[in-house]
Amino acid sequence: MFSRIREKKGCVVLALGGLALTGCAPKKVALEVAFPSAETFLVTQAIRVRVFVPNQTSTCAALVNDAIGGRMPMEQLVYDINDLTPCSVRSGAKIPDPGGGRKLFLVEGLDMMRNTTLLIGCSEGEIHGKSTAIRVRLYPTQNYDRAYRQNPPQPEETPETRCMRRGV
């Protein structure tokens, strides 16, 4: 009889523990970076993610234009992450919670020197408890072709082999 009570106690403890874990575990929301192709992934050397607070003038279209033109509304910036690579993005890098309210997620694919934008995309969304994913589709800029010619990917190379070789 005592062993049965002990068994039940164990179940209750486990159930409570499970509940607690569910309550405390941080919710993860995916920031999906959609590359046009595997080739563009291989040509891109670095990824920059900037999050902005939208207003009447700061929209995704304006941000993309500003980013290509080298201007940025710094006062709207929530944060700027400039140390990512395509492989770290693929493997699931963690970036901070941008806080409540709608935000603009500007993602750029850069060259090795991190100063030429090869791919760019922006998406507006809000991160909250019920969010599932924010998807940012990247599109090639006018710089892409030149970067491709200067540094074409190796034949047979894939994102998997590239990232495995770099240990990411």
């Binding site: 920031l31 959609a34 963690k94 970036i95 941008p98």
Partner: protein, 270 residues
């Protein structure tokens, strides 16, 4: 006149504390000090002349400039020149919207100040400047808001982070202007400080300073930390702690504050 001497003295006492020593021209500061002394002695004519002289010598800091316009405004009011007084107070409030008259200024001398306050507060825009890095053009892009057209010159001191000397350049005022900074297109960060000046090179607005410059450019990135959530030991520790106060904690914890973003890559834009 004796009563006036009292309030003038009190007002000066409070305002002298606000005067910040600047690198400016000593002659301008000296003239302003003479204006202060005359103001204490309720010699409004000398105070007015010396404050005007201080303005024309130039190189006053914003705090000194506010004080000069305050003296000019009070003196002009005392001489029955309300239009001039309002103009001086308007300039004072444009430079520092929080500036005010001391409580000891008699009500009869306050009307032009309140009129000026209404004029300044009636405008939605405030004297201000915003600076951003324009990598494509290789310089600082400066946006200036000057609703009362007081700015006559913009002086920019800029250097690449780590450099010793600032490069100084001056521009005619414009709502938006570009100050080229050699090497800024490639550099991570550029340091600057900025002066908006009037026609006598008095400082209407200063952003940053030689010793505390402002910085534009790439913000430090966020390091990819260790993923604790994937460590079994982490969850064992959390589980043990949770058993002590699990249910209460689970109810009270705000789910919204525990969200994190995790990147992923997909291919093909569909």
């Amino acid at each position: 006149m004796r009563a006036g001497k009292g309030w003038a003295f009190l007002m000066m006492g409070s305002c002298l504390l606000a005067i910040v020593p600047s690198k400016g021209n000593a002659q301008g500061r000296e003239a302003l000090e003479q204006a202060e002394r005359a103001f204490i002695d309720v010699d409004f004519e000398t105070a007015m002349n010396k404050a005007q002289e201080a303005l024309q010598k130039g190189w006053l800091s914003p705090a000194q400039l506010v004080r000069a316009y305050q003296i000019l405004g009070v003196c002009a009011t005392a001489f029955g020149q309300p239009t001039e007084a309002r103009d001086h107070f308007t300039r004072m409030l444009v430079i520092d919207p929080q500036s005010t008259l001391d409580d000891t200024v008699p009500p009869r001398l306050r009307a032009p100040f309140y009129e000026a306050k209404g004029v300044v507060e009636g405008r939605a825009e405030r004297l201000s400047a915003e600076v951003g890095l324009d990598r494509a053009q290789g310089g600082l892009r400066i946006a200036i808001v000057d609703p009362f057209q007081l700015v006559k010159k913009v002086r920019v001191h800029a250097r690449l982070e780590g450099a010793v000397e600032f490069e100084v350049s001056e521009f005619a005022p414009s709502p938006e202007l570009l100050a080229p900074v050699e090497g800024s297109a490639e550099a991570d960060r550029t340091e600057y400080w900025l002066e908006l000046l009037d026609e006598h090179s008095n400082q209407l607005l200063v952003l940053g300073s030689e010793f505390e410059p402002r910085v534009v450019g790439r913000l430090p990135g966020v390091e990819k930390g260790v993923d604790l959530a994937s460590e079994p030991l982490f969850w064992i520790v959390i589980g043990a702690a949770a058993l002590a106060g699990a249910v209460t904690t689970a109810v009270l914890v705000d789910q919204g504050s525990k969200i994190e973003l995790q990147t992923s890559a997909v291919f093909g834009v569909n």
